[in-house]
């Protein structure tokens, strides 16, 4: 059930879920309401007047009884219970809702929030990587005393037409006891794969099975898979019920390797120290074990129910996960140990699951185009479509894939960790207290700040940084070089250690007790990051004689906050300036692909096909890329022809704001 909220005076409407608070609704609708405490209800600035409709809201200390009776409410503490009409009072209002209209926001916000438009691989059948087969065997007699394994094999053949499988020593060790204790009624877990352990995979291999577990009785109702995304920053897990295909629990935690360095390069350097690789492996294992414990607890399941695991991660993460040397990933010419990863026993590498669980890792295309990208391409179905798609995964590295069902090309460009909050004075990850939504009143320069978890702000996360940069630009607070305009003044703009800075939250409104700012060095870092990504896309397109206009679809993957805003991304030149309807937000594509492989062994064959068909275009030492990168160090770009619509809107905006400022 969705309710329609109409914001006055300009009549912007948005559909929201029951219980959404009005500050979030306004942010999503692109309507500016002053708010500095991130939504925690303490600054008292986000006053609105509920003119019609039912809301749930307690009177705040900052609202007089009289005003409360007139309908005044604190937006962040007011929850929607019906369609509503909400007046933004002059003192809360920005010029911004007008500007926002012009830049065609709001629509995009809705699209992002609506996962129904998420691009997904199609046509796959639920035929999990591991299968569980309950079987009753005929007990042996003197006339029929073949070995236990042969007996099991014959039973499975008779009952399920499973023709051929292999068994490893660890399964054989306990087999006799299990068969007899269960009176020959057991459940076999078979792991499918084109070729277990084959690296690189065999091409003409008919699917075979490997016996990984034998349990007494019928345990086929407990049949789970663990899908993992091993990110440099975050480890995400989904617990998948292989019978229903449903995700029954999910969890995410920081990758504890971050203690030894924020980005892959620092980690690789650490891994070269004595014992460093082992330490990093054990750190990521502790994160993995924690998220697995969490999903087990959430779902009330036992680890005994885990039948298989699939992990996707970038090349460095996958190497560290398996304990392989990462040194030559970092040193030119950037060579991984292997592109195709061996299948291993999860417990052998340190994952705390029963020793019969196999871990299947996504293959990498190159040192900086890893299994996470292959996984995203699989999950999003790019490899299945006729449409020409540009796939972008934005993180410390920008990884980009271009192609369709006929061909795939990819490249990686080092963006630095800016959009993950790294190298930004008050940058942080999209955790509770991170500013994820931001508007500015271009006249008063008062902000509208909304944080993850609606707590007092602690810093700014990726989607917050996109918003801040775009708002400062479109609000004419910074110029296209990323420098603060000379002709605006506010106590929020001041000179700091790293050039000028804008105070997003004063100490009294912040959760840290210090002012939260963005400075010119932060902005430079963000410009470099978005410049690298854009130049990478350009180079990749050009190498194939294509341009942005040839694209049928752009898929944005990555774990940005819910409020990542397409138009704002375009404004700063992060995303190409092409029609909004061509954009799709995928979310965590890597995790999605991991889940699909758990659910479909056919998909696993596609994984290998994708990894083999993807051509890597190396951008290091690529002069064309360097030229394009320099051209992109501008907001949105040196050459406005690449951003015609954005440039035009920014110009119109600029005129409007300048005239408004003069009028004040």
């Amino acid at each position: 059930m969705k309710y329609e909220i109409t914001f006055k005076p300009d009549g912007t409407t948005i559909l929201v879920d029951k219980g959404t608070n009005l500050l979030e609704a306004a942010l999503a609708a692109g309507v500016h309401v002053n708010a500095t405490c991130g939504g925690q209800g303490v600054c008292g600035k986000c006053q609105v007047i509920v003119e019609a409709g039912k809301v749930d809201s307690e009177k705040s200390e900052k609202t007089t009884q009289e005003k409360y009776e007139e309908g005044w409410r604190q937006a962040c503490n007011t929850f929607v219970l019906s369609d509503c009409t909400v007046q933004i009072p002059v003192e809360s209002r920005g010029l911004k809702h007008l500007v926002a209209r012009q830049l065609d926001m709001g629509t995009e916000e809705r699209k992002i929030a609506d996962l129904g438009t998420r691009p997904l691989a199609e046509g796959w059948q639920q035929d999990p990587l591991a299968i569980k087969l309950p079987v009753k065997l005929t007990p042996p007699t003197l006339k029929d005393n073949a070995g236990d394994l042969t007996r099991l094999s014959m039973g499975l053949k008779k009952q399920y037409q499973v023709e051929d499988f292999s068994a490893e020593l660890r399964c054989l060790e306990t087999m006799p006891g299990i068969l007899r204790k269960s009176e020959w009624s057991v459940t076999a877990t078979l792991m499918a794969g084109p070729e277990p352990g084959a690296v690189p995979p065999a091409q003409d291999q008919s699917p075979r099975f490997k016996l990984v577990r034998l349990e007494p009785g019928d345990t086929s109702s407990q049949h789970l898979a663990v899908a993992l995304d091993i990110g440099t920053t975050t480890v995400c897990v989904e617990l998948v019920d292989l019978r229903s295909g449903e995700v029954i629990a999910e969890a995410a935690e920081y990758n504890r390797q971050a203690q030894r360095g924020e980005d892959v390069i620092t980690r690789i350097v650490h891994a070269q120290k004595p014992g460093g690789g082992e330490e990093l492996q054990s750190l990521v294992m502790s994160s993995i074990n924690q998220v697995i414990d969490e999903v087990m607890e959430k779902s009330g399941s036992s680890k005994k129910s885990i039948s298989c695991m699939v992990a996707a991660g970038n090349t460095t993460m996958t190497h560290l996960l398996l304990g392989m040397e990462t040194r030559y990933i970092r040193e030119a010419p950037y060579v991984p140990v292997t592109n195709f990863m061996p299948l291993v026993w999860a417990s052998d590498v340190g994952i705390d699951v029963p020793d019969c669980v196999q871990l299947c890792s996504y293959p990498a295309v190159a040192s900086y185009v890893g299994g996470d990208i292959v996984s995203g391409i699989l999950g999003s179905g790019v490899f299945q479509k006729e449409e020409l798609t540009l796939y972008m995964d934005i993180g410390t590295n920008g990884e980009i894939v271009l192609g369709n069902r006929e061909w795939l090309a990819c490249a990686a460009c080092s963006m630095g960790p800016a959009f993950e909050g790294g190298g930004i004075k008050h940058g942080m990850r999209a955790d509770v207290g991170a500013i994820e939504g931001f508007h500015i009143n271009p006249i008063t320069l008062e902000p509208m700040v909304i944080t993850v978890g609606r707590k007092m702000p602690l810093g700014i996360c990726g989607s917050g940084l996109i918003s801040v940069l775009a708002e400062l630009l479109s609000g004419c607070v910074i110029d296209r070089n990323g420098k603060f305009e000379h002709n605006v003044s506010s106590d929020r703009i001041r000179s700091g250690q790293f050039g000028h800075e804008y105070v997003i939250a004063w100490a009294e409104d912040s959760g840290t007790g210090d002012d939260i700012v963005i400075n010119e060095v932060d902005i430079e870092n963000l410009i470099r990051a978005k410049g690298a990504l854009f130049a990478g896309c350009q180079t990749l397109l050009e190498s194939l004689n294509l341009s942005f206009d040839d694209l049928d679809r752009v898929i944005i993957a990555g774990a940005f906050g819910r409020y990542i805003n397409l138009e704002k991304g375009k404004q700063i030149g992060l995303f190409p300036d092409i029609p909004a309807e061509k954009f799709y937000f995928l979310g965590n594509g890597s995790l999605l692909g991991s889940r699909l492989v758990c659910l479909s062994k056919g998909m696993f064959s596609d994984v290998e096909r994708i990894a083999k068909m993807m051509t890597n275009v190396e951008l290091s030492d690529n002069q064309s890329f360097m030229d394009k990168y320099v051209g992109a160090l501008f907001l949105p770009h040196t050459d406005s022809r690449f951003f015609p619509r954005v440039s035009e809107a920014l110009e119109a905006n600029y005129q409007m704001i300048q005239s408004e400022r003069k009028a004040q």
Copy 2:
């Protein structure tokens, strides 16, 4: 170079190698010479006269100068340097050389000694299970920065047309360093197999490879395999040069598991105790490690040169080797965990070799027809021949295989350890000091004793027991029930704790300082053992509507001493009474098969074919077998029609000896 020795007075001749001593030559020729100290030169009884030819011999204390000049020599200390004529003086002589003639010995002795007649698998090509490929790779560049494994794969494909291989994590871990330290010039060791680790093996699998080791530089000249026979009693090893195909060193040691029981049943019982299985595994590993150390030292090789290992053993030994449960092998209906054994890393199960060496174990047909038999069938080529062959492996279990290239049937019968010296008062293994050759003078009852290593006798080994039993029978010292004849008397026959006994060596001639005897209980045990084997063969033949006369070949496998004597085996009913030319002695067939698999991966496919094609006939609770067994508890058999030639000769012998005894 062979020399011909002619023994007078009866003119028996034999061809021997230079340096053979005259006692051995006489034994091999079936010529009786009194000798009681086993060949050590102390009893002084084996006096002969060298009439012509050159010998190397020192004068013994027991020979006067006069006699020495006349040509008198101690046979055991006289070594042949040319063709010789040797007179056996009356006091050394037995009636026996006459009897021996009649029983057609001698010929067989030569056949046994001559390994040229050993039946061997044919038509296999030297194409080892592991291959070593030196390869120079093109170093990576920015334009060609595929992963290390992909680079190696392409190099091997280009240089050797190796299409497809898998790599396990342990090989990948060290790959980057090795490639770079060696400046991209490396040697890859690839393990072939129809399907590494597949249990049961895939049928339609094209041969694939698994990368097991990468070494810097060209190490292809060090390319060895370890072939193992894991016997209940003895662990034998051959170190095979996979380039030349030659065995470069061999060694054998007792299986230290024997500390925990002589036979497989006792071992299985021990394995059921807490920690018992682990203890037995670790005991056999210490034996294996010792024999490997020995062959390494003998050959001056490094363990780094080992490319693969193949082991054959009976089903229990193989289960204990790999750490699998043996309990149900012993309990009816006698079911092994698996017939096909998983490929494992040798170091994972406790073998002290580099961790990149894979251990391939022979598959078993049934609980009591193990990989050692499959290995022998492979090595002897039974599975390739049109001829109907009976293959017998004589040990604690008699394992018998009947068939040809079209079909194979097998059975196992519990013989007990008698022919391995177990349950025999002075039984021992075929080690130094074991009586392996024995003749008796049927008139004086004086023995001719020859021991392994020509040391004073310590006990009697398997071939010695066959000789002793046959000599006592054909010398009319015992009757066909195995009881001592009443009408012979000698101080060598006396009453002991276990019925009557014959003193083979007096305390002064023995290495133990005690009399060495054979008693009636020993003889009973031997009769039971040979009866079980014969009844097993009969049952197997009958189950296929065949008789002994249908056999084209009989192959005797097992590690009997060099002097095992076919005719003596027939006399006691151990071997069927069919023409001598149908018999072949294989020696250690299990070790032979292991070696062939190391040398030929094609043979490895045959192994699986053999194991699958062999039909096991269960003799436990088989009434027909029990009836036949009872009939066989007689020397040579209750029904003399089964031993027509032997019975006739024994009868003639009996008449001759009785008349000679009367004449004395």
